[in-house]
């Protein structure tokens, strides 16, 4: 058991790698009632083409299979459902699939070790049958319908689809009904056996518990199980061109007033962990100083009647791709577009707010440590992305240099763009 000391804040996270490769992180929370554990694999919707373990050929799986697998791991071969097992202990349980990870978690005040055992055993004992796979297709169909009911989500999804040529970031995490209907139990076992080996997983735990007991419990649980030796997972490599697929498209949905979204695409060079973290921070900072709460960009658009009532921006970074997007109930497409472009190429007023944003960022980092759930999320996201937890994040942000930042944002080329318009249904 090792300790990761978060410099500046006197916070400690315990860490150990077991013989089977499983990485365990524990955050001790004296005085807190809630106990929680995440069991997470580095496997999400982006890993859809790979060489299955013990096979030799690259294989493509139906879109949405990582998410389908997440649903199916709740299946057990005894009479009591996993939900019932947790809920009998007063605990809540859930799971989620993202582009690059799938995680299962429980939370509750009591019966921690029982719950932990149920969680680990649930994820490590898959039970798929033709019948239970078929049953899930109806449920997931409803889940996909629920998402497709939300016009903002549909708009965003379409922007990705039209921005990206080859990379699977193009597709929704849940896949489509047609693809989901193709999934078989054999597919599920192949994906499971490839990505759910302990060496590809992490267990992240919090609670007012004894650290030695926590680690001993997991060690013992894992020692009782047999796993094959871990092998390297071979993923398909995607060549993603700089260009977008389509410059614009109009779609129809249940919207009261039209919505428009713009996405800018970037292909970025590979950098090491901290440099890549800094690069992301620069872009985040730049967008905030241009369009965030210290500007009145949105208010001005509304006052000038260029936007009806809302406008927002966001970004996503995956592998070597970055997408920056803007959306809202835009009334004057051309004018809004020009104003965004103008802002993106104007570097004159950045310095004033630079230090303020740093201050805000640092205080939000400190505040994170008074909500233990957020610390857990921080750990699992950083480990998934960078392979470890930064113990010097505070210093890293504090040390961001204005000149480096400015140099970087000035080098960004905003020349690959796609636009999607959502109109009300055609009569």
């Amino acid at each position: 058991m090792k300790t990761i000391k978060i410099k500046k804040l006197n916070e400690i996270i315990y860490h150990e790698t077991l013989d089977n490769g499983l990485n365990i992180y524990f955050y001790k929370t004296p005085g807190f009632q809630k106990k929680m554990a995440y069991f997470q694999t580095k496997y999400g919707s982006l890993y859809n083409d790979f060489i299955p373990i013990n096979a030799s050929e690259m294989k493509s799986f139906p879109l949405g299979i990582a998410h389908f697998l997440e649903h199916k791991l709740f299946e057990s071969n005894d009479n009591e459902s996993v939900f019932q097992k947790f809920e009998k202990n007063g605990a809540g349980v859930n799971a989620a699939t993202t582009y690059d990870k799938t995680y299962y978690y429980f939370f509750g005040a009591d019966h921690f070790y029982e719950n932990l055992e149920i969680l680990i055993n649930m994820v490590q004992n898959p039970y798929f049958t033709d019948e239970n796979v078929e049953k899930e297709k109806g449920i997931i169909g409803q889940e996909l319908d629920m998402y497709s009911n939300n016009p903002s989500q549909v708009l965003l999804q379409k922007l990705y689809y039209n921005a990206i040529v080859n990379h699977p970031l193009k597709y929704d995490v849940g896949g489509t009904k047609e693809e989901v209907n193709k999934i078989t139990k054999e597919d599920l076992y192949e994906c499971y056996n490839t990505f759910y080996h302990p060496s590809n997983m992490i267990l992240v735990i919090m609670g007012d518990l004894d650290e030695h007991e926590v680690f001993e419990f997991v060690r013992k649980n894992q020692a009782e199980k047999h796993f094959e030796k871990s092998k390297e997972i071979k993923l398909k490599k995607y060549e993603e061109p700089e260009k977008v697929v389509k410059k614009e498209e109009t779609i129809y949905h249940n919207v009261v007033s039209p919505k428009i979204g713009y996405a800018y695409k970037f292909i970025l060079p590979k950098l090491d962990d901290k440099k890549s973290f800094l690069r992301e921070s620069y872009i985040q900072l730049f967008l905030a100083t241009k369009f965030g709460s210290t500007t009145e960009f949105t208010e001005d658009l509304i006052k000038k009647k260029l936007v009806k009532s809302y406008f927002y921006y966001d970004y996503v970074f995956k592998d070597n791709i970055a997408i920056i997007f803007f959306a809202g109930d835009i009334l004057d497409d051309e004018a809004v577009n020009d104003l965004i472009e103008e802002k993106l190429h104007d570097f004159s007023d950045l310095k004033e707010v630079f230090e303020l944003y740093k201050k805000a960022y640092l205080s939000s980092y400190v505040k994170m440590f008074e909500v233990p759930d957020s610390v857990l999320n921080h750990i699992r996201i950083y480990v998934n992305r960078y392979g470890y937890v930064f113990d010097d994040l505070y210093e890293l942000v504090e040390g961001i240099s204005y000149d480096e930042y400015l140099k970087y944002v000035q080098s960004l080329k905003f020349n690959q763009k796609t636009k999607v318009t959502v109109l009300g249904k055609e009569e």
């Binding site: 807190f32 809920e87 007063g90 169909g141 319908d145 629920m146 210290t294 009532s309 909500v371």
Partner: protein, 423 residues
């Protein structure tokens, strides 16, 4: 965790002393008997106050000031609790040891500026600010259908709560009656004619100074109107439908509670609702989703102040009849509940009550809501009471639950299927 009750200028103040956190949180509540138009006005007031103030009449300047004070969180929300409208303003500010000396008091002064010194001239909210907020509110009301789940629940509320505040929703008609002058008058009313209360949580050496800074010059009033709403129970089930352009259909079902005791309201009803539709082991989830694959989500929610339980399920429209009849059947079978089902829910409630002590936001809110019912018991006393509920209590209670309404927001996939069938 120590709870201290005190007053300042007759305003009740609760101090929750704990050193689990790095921040101090304060929640200031304004409670007024509800009127329908407040569904619009009190929300607009809240948004206007948070956006700018007299001292920082531009939102960008206010936000820069906040960042300079290490970004304290200053938030607000507004909700209907039974027959009352509650406006809550809250701050969460890091202890000075993580920022700099004097930062906390300065941030609390800013909190006061935001609430009590709004961006007003000539007895009206700033016109530009008002227009922005008017636009936002208008768009929010007009685009309700873009959030089908909430829309369907709101329609159910209107149907089952007809003639009571349960049916109060924000409307364009109410919005169009408001001017920046009238809204300012309503703001003054909120400040002068509310039952005010402050809850402070965290650890600080200068509590008295914080309380004085927040409450100085304020006066509270006292209302004795009944909090709880109980509406008439019809004999027949009223089933309504509406179509829309979305894909998924949303089925909502309303259950009304008859003449129930205070004990049932506080302890039996939450367990009943938990067995019915709380979580994945609930009857609704296991029958509607797991056994019949009809829905991804299906749950029930208990509205204590409104004496109702609502059920919601996202379904394919073609399964409407089947889903509704299953829900009716599940409700009718609630008189026969098993010991293990209520044990499960008791444990869930126990766990979530304990966990509420871990959050700087949730515990003050828990304390406030309990006080609305003049309930001063602590969490552990409450847990004891929850665990005393028996099977017989649930059986007796089930006789006082009446399924009175259903509302279907019908999506397009059912229409397509109907067409297929015709062909």
């Amino acid at each position: 965790m120590k709870k201290i009750e005190t007053t300042y200028n007759d305003i009740p103040v609760t101090i929750i002393e704990t050193d689990k956190f790095k921040s101090v949180i304060g929640s200031l509540y304004f409670k007024t008997p509800i009127k329908k138009e407040m569904m619009v006005t009190r929300k607009m007031i809240m948004n206007l106050l948070l956006h700018t103030c007299k001292k920082y009449p531009q939102s960008k300047e206010l936000n820069k000031k906040m960042m300079d004070l290490y970004n304290p969180s200053i938030v607000a929300n507004t909700s209907r609790e039974g027959n009352y409208r509650i406006n809550r303003f809250a701050f969460r500010i890091l202890d000075d040891k993580y920022t700099k000396d004097g930062n906390m008091l300065e941030a609390i002064k800013l909190f006061r500026e935001i609430i009590f010194n709004p961006n007003v001239s000539d007895n009206a909210f700033d016109k530009d600010e008002f227009n922005l907020e008017y636009q936002a509110m208008k768009s929010e009301i007009e685009s309700k259908i873009e959030r089908p789940k909430n829309y369907a629940l709101e329609k159910l509320d209107c149907q089952m709560g007809e003639g009571t505040p349960i049916s109060y929703v924000a409307t364009i008609e109410d919005l169009n009656k408001i001017t920046s002058e009238s809204l300012y008058q309503d703001y003054l009313k909120m400040i002068k004619e509310s039952e005010i209360e402050l809850i402070l949580a965290g650890k600080t050496d200068n509590q008295d100074e914080i309380i004085r800074t927040v409450l100085d010059g304020l006066k509270t009033v006292k209302y004795d109107k009944e909090l709880i709403i109980s509406s008439d129970i019809k004999n027949e089930v009223q089933e309504e439908k509406e179509t829309y352009d979305g894909k998924q259909s949303i089925l909502t079902v309303g259950l009304k509670l008859g003449d129930i005791s205070d004990y049932e309201r506080s302890y039996v009803a939450p367990i009943y609702s938990g067995v019915l539709g709380g979580g994945a082991s609930s009857r609704l989830f296991s029958v509607i989703r797991e056994k019949n694959s009809l829905a991804y989500s299906c749950f029930s929610r208990y509205e204590k102040d409104d004496s109702v339980i609502v059920v919601s399920a996202g379904i394919d429209g073609k399964n409407y009849e089947k889903a509704l009849s299953l829900i009716k059947q599940i409700v009718s079978q609630m008189s026969e509940v098993k010991e293990e089902e209520i044990e499960r829910v008791k444990k869930e409630i126990t766990s979530s009550l304990k966990e509420s002590l871990d959050y700087l936001n949730s515990y003050p809110n828990y304390v406030y809501k309990a006080k609305l019912y003049n309930d001063t018991s602590d969490i552990y006393e409450k847990i004891k009471e929850v665990n005393k509920v028996t099977l017989k209590d649930i059986t007796n209670f089930s006789k006082k639950v009446f399924l009175t309404d259903s509302f279907l927001l019908e999506g397009e996939s059912s229409n397509e299927n109907n067409k297929d069938k015709e062909a």
